[in-house]
Assembly symmetry: C2
Homo-oligomer: 182 residues x 2
DNA sequence: GTGGGCATGTAAGGTGTTACATGATTCT
DNA sequence: AGAATCATGTAACACCTTACATGCCCAC
C-alpha cells in the first residue's frame, strides 16, 4: 500500500473509532467527515481489501441472516501506521474553488451574473451554518462530560468559521462589484 | 473536448486577459490564480492543443531568435464557450482538508501533536495574510481608477477572509484542546 | 410483491501530477 | 563556462468517481 495515498488513513482513522464494515464506513463518512473528507465506494472497498491483505486490519465475517457482512478492525500494526501518519505534518493544499475562478474572470459577463453567483453561494453557506450549529450544540454538551469529542468539535468549528467568513466575503464582494462596475 | 472538465475554462479564462503561450500561462497561474486554481504543464499543453484543434483558440507561431513560441488567442467561439460557462452555476465542493482529518482522529495521539499541527498551520496562515494584504493594497489603488480589477480584488479578498477565519479557528481550537484534554 | 435499505464489489473512464526529455537563450 | 530561465511537450502512473452488477432482508 502506497504510503502517499491518504485514503488508507481516512479508512484506518474511521476504524479507530470503532470496528465497522465498508458499508457502515461510507455512511459514517457521509454523516460526519463529509465536509472535510469523503471517499467513494470505489475507494473504500479496494482499500479495505488491501489493508487486510497487508495485516493492518483484520476481518471478521459475520452473517446477518444469510447475508454476509465483513466487519473490519484495526490491528496493532494498523494502529501504529495510523499514529505515524497523525504525527507527520499535514500538507497544506490551497483547494480549487470554482466560484472564485468564475468571479476572477467576471469581467467577461455582466456584473449581475457574478452577483447572482455570490448570492446563491451566500444562501448555501447560511444553510450550512445551521447544520454546523446543530452539530456543535450537540457536541458541546458531550465535550463537558468526556474529552473525546473535543476533536470532533474543532472539526465542526472549522466548518462554521469557514462559512461565516464566506458569508462576510459575499456581502463585501457584492458591495464592491456594485460600487465599481456599471 | 469534454464539457465537464474545468481545466479548459481555466485556460480560456487566462486567454481572456491576454493572448499568451503555455509557458506564460503557467507562470501567470503561479502568480495570480494559484491560491484558488492551478494547473500543471501536463494539463496546460494538451488542453491548449485540443482547444486549438477545435477552433476555440488560435495559434500564432512566433520566433524568439531561433526558439519557437506558440502564442494562443481566444476565437469568437472560444469567447462564447467561456461566457456560457461563466453563466452556469458554479459547483460547490467541500474541499478535502488533511489538517482537519488529522485533528478529527486526534484522540489517537497526544494533544501536544494536534496543538503543534494547529500552531504550524496558524503560522502559515499569518504568512499568507501578509501576501494577500500586499496584493489587496496594490489592487485597491487600481480599482479606483478602472473597473476591471474589482474581480481580482474580490478573489484576493476571498483568500484573506479565509485565512483570517482559519487563524481565529486555530486560536479557539488550541484553547478547547487545552481545556478538555489531560 | 415491490420499493428501499443493507451489503459487497468491479469496470471504465476521466482527471491530474510528477518526472523526464529536449534544446535555445540570457545572465553572471 | 555554467546556471537559470525560457519554452514545449510526453509517458507513466496515481487517484477518484460514476455507474453498474448482484442479491438479501424488511416493511408496507
Amino acid at each position: 500500500m502506497n504510503k502517499g495515498s491518504k485514503t488508507q488513513y481516512a479508512v484506518l482513522g474511521a476504524l479507530s473509532i470503532q470496528p465497522m464494515s465498508g458499508y457502515e464506513m461510507k455512511k459514517m463518512m457521509n454523516e460526519s467527515t463529509n465536509y472535510f473528507w469523503s471517499e467513494s465506494n470505489g475507494q473504500i472497498y479496494p482499500t479495505l481489501a488491501k489493508l487486510a491483505k497487508e495485516k493492518y486490519i483484520t476481518v471478521e465475517n459475520q452473517l446477518v441472516g444469510s447475508k454476509p457482512k465483513k466487519v473490519y478492525s484495526l490491528s496493532a500494526t494498523g494502529v501504529a501506521r495510523l499514529k505515524k501518519w497523525l504525527l507527520e505534518d499535514p500538507e497544506y493544499y490551497p483547494a480549487r474553488n470554482e466560484l472564485v475562478l468564475k468571479l476572477f474572470y467576471g469581467q467577461n459577463v455582466s456584473p449581475k451574473i457574478s452577483i447572482g453567483h455570490i448570492n446563491k453561494h451566500s444562501e448555501r453557506c447560511k444553510q450550512a451554518l445551521i447544520v454546523y450549529q446543530d452539530i456543535i450544540d450537540s457536541l458541546e454538551v458531550l465535550v463537558r462530560k468526556k474529552q473525546r469529542p473535543v476533536y470532533f468539535l474543532i472539526a465542526a468549528l472549522a466548518g462554521i468559521k469557514a462559512v461565516e467568513a464566506e458569508i462576510e466575503w459575499c456581502n463585501e464582494s457584492i458591495k464592491l462589484i456594485s460600487k465599481y462596475t456599471k
